[in-house]
Symmetry: C2
Subunit: 333 residues, 2 copies
DNA sequence: ATGAAAGCGCTAACAA
DNA sequence: TTGTTAGCGCTTTCAT
């Protein structure tokens, strides 16, 4: 005998009420007499009835599901944001459809389409540049979108960030103050505005304030990975700089180890400041001085903002800037 | 004017065919004349029709969505598995509903229920002990379940693992061979069978083979985290052991740094072998000798196995053991 | 090869 | 407060 799925209709019949009443009870609608509610609840328990969220989604046009696009789930920076997102989503009874948006631009749109097809109520977008085709895809519905730890120069979506210009400027100024004149900017893809526009600008402003000429050959563009950091060390060293601002912790850690394996003393001979203050900064020796971003909070606040948008609540500001600071550890003097 | 959603009915009308035919075209059903197919495809493109996956799910009883339970997304071990899961899922056109199963047992069942309510076609379960209430929840449907990097002593579900007994036994034997007689077993929760039954057994077998008495006071149970590792160092040192087998990399890295900050020379004065061979083992200095598990593959193979189960294909073996090895680095002599 | 029609399990007017 | 009745957008027999 096959296990039969219990539907709302079975409950209604067994409790001698209409489907509508059962639906009301299940959804906590107050327009139900306490005793009928009790009666229905009893039958629900007896039959072990479980509402079918798919049917509910089709009928109500709400799936209580949000899409989350993440560039690389193994990068602890994004994973930390995801944790904040997840916790708030759970708190508000949303499920998360997670999708990786790496593997080059080609697949991102396909992935995005598959998520939208699932009728998510909202979307959180992390990392990477929101390019034109993606933007178009996002625009076609009225699905609310929030960027987390990611900037959109066109300022079209909700977003939660720190002030990347100011943060990198402070970090760079710090290195200048401790006597460095030639400072490298070791960064992820400049095609992403967070690097190519915001962070780079902060770096340049700090130099400018100190009357140091901007030298493009001190900018090293690579990817967010440990290996990339190890690999780029040689070139940076050869450029003759004495310090570096790095935009990702995995990158910075690889860079640091590249330096140490080359017998360079950190911070005596070379100073490093990184950007994300993840656990990695405390794991390595020397520990890395870092810009501190409230990682978990960025995710959490982004998800909270999204819930408001999904409820069509009034939003006072759709771009939220969280505070940052610089945590001094042992990779700077 | 509101944006109107295009349905299969709109396409049917515009193409002068029935909904059934459009459905056939969309689903690649071969029973459609090439020219009608062309005609329909043209209209689909013109109208920019997007099938509604929720309606499809309700009608077909398949959602092309799988649930993934992960204990801690910021733990790089689980994140690595998730990456493999994600890639294969994408390959087979499944979306992933991700849920964290941390925060204590209480919430795990609630999270599981919310996922099942979404009518996922299958489930991947990582970490933690599958306890009775969870097992019951999993049993009620016919939803296929695969454990990834997680063991089930009752052997009821599909699962993809390495041979944890053998792996820990080898690691322990290695430490014995290099002259250690008193070896600590630093582990996550023993309530989880992967530790309390499998790994512990491997540890004990190695001792037994070497005629070393098992001493319970050399077993240190804590949690999978960097801080926990730092914290446990003192107690381990005080126990007078000269080496340790650690069951998680974050834990091991904290432990290593605890030792180094206490000026203990690794590996000269103390040897360490860890279990997961994640990036962390290469980031720290000295680099950690580790059991190597094919992390990405465990996730990928688990997802692949799940696709087979969801298609009701014949499964030759529902428990898959992937090969392991030991990578020697600098935390052992 | 194509179409007609009956659901899938639920919500949401609208009535009563 | 409760019930009736249309759908939601699609798949899937079953005819033709």
């Amino acid at each position: 005998m096959e296990k039969q799925t219990i539907t709302i209709y079975d409950v209604a019949r067994e409790a001698s009420v209409s489907m509508a009443t059962v639906s009301r009870v299940v959804n906590g609608n107050p327009n139900v007499r306490p005793d009928t509610r009790e009666k229905v609840l009893k039958v629900i328990e007896k039959l072990d009835y479980r509402p079918n969220a798919v049917a509910r989604g089709l009928a109500s046009h709400r799936t209580t599901t949000v899409g989350v696009l993440i560039p690389d789930i193994t990068n602890i920076f994004y994973a930390s944001l995801a944790r904040g997102i997840n916790d708030v989503a759970t708190m508000y009874k949303y499920n998360i459809i997670l999708a990786s948006a790496d593997e080059g631009k080609h697949k991102t749109d396909a992935v995005l389409q598959s998520i939208m097809a699932k009728q998510v109520d909202g979307l959180i977008y992390m990392g990477q540049h929101v390019d034109d085709s993606t933007r178009k895809e996002l625009d076609r519905g009225k699905t609310p979108v929030v960027l987390a730890g990611t900037v959109d120069p066109q300022d079209k979506f909700g977003s939660v960030n720190i002030d990347y210009v100011a943060a990198i400027k402070e970090a760079t100024s710090r290195l200048i103050a401790s006597g460095n004149q030639r400072i490298a900017f070791v960064t992820g893809p400049l095609s992403d505005p967070i690097n190519g526009q915001f962070r780079l600008k902060g770096y340049q402003e700090a130099l400018s304030d100190a009357k140091i000429a901007y030298d493009e050959s001190y900018v090293f563009e690579t990817e967010y990975s440990y290996r990339a950091g190890e690999a780029v060390w040689d070139a940076v060293k050869r450029a003759g700089v004495t310090a570096a601002v790095v935009t990702d912790d995995e990158l910075a850690v690889g860079f640091l180890n590249g330096a140490r394996d080359a017998k360079v003393k950190i911070p005596e001979d070379f100073e490093i400041i990184t950007s994300n203050n993840t656990m990695l900064t405390e794991i390595v020796r020397p520990k890395l001085t870092s810009i501190a971003q409230p990682l978990y909070d960025i995710g959490a606040v982004a998800m909270r903002l999204l819930t408001k948008m999904m409820n069509k609540e009034e939003i006072d500001q759709k771009t939220i800037l969280l505070p940052h600071s610089i945590i001094t550890r042992n990779s700077t003097k």
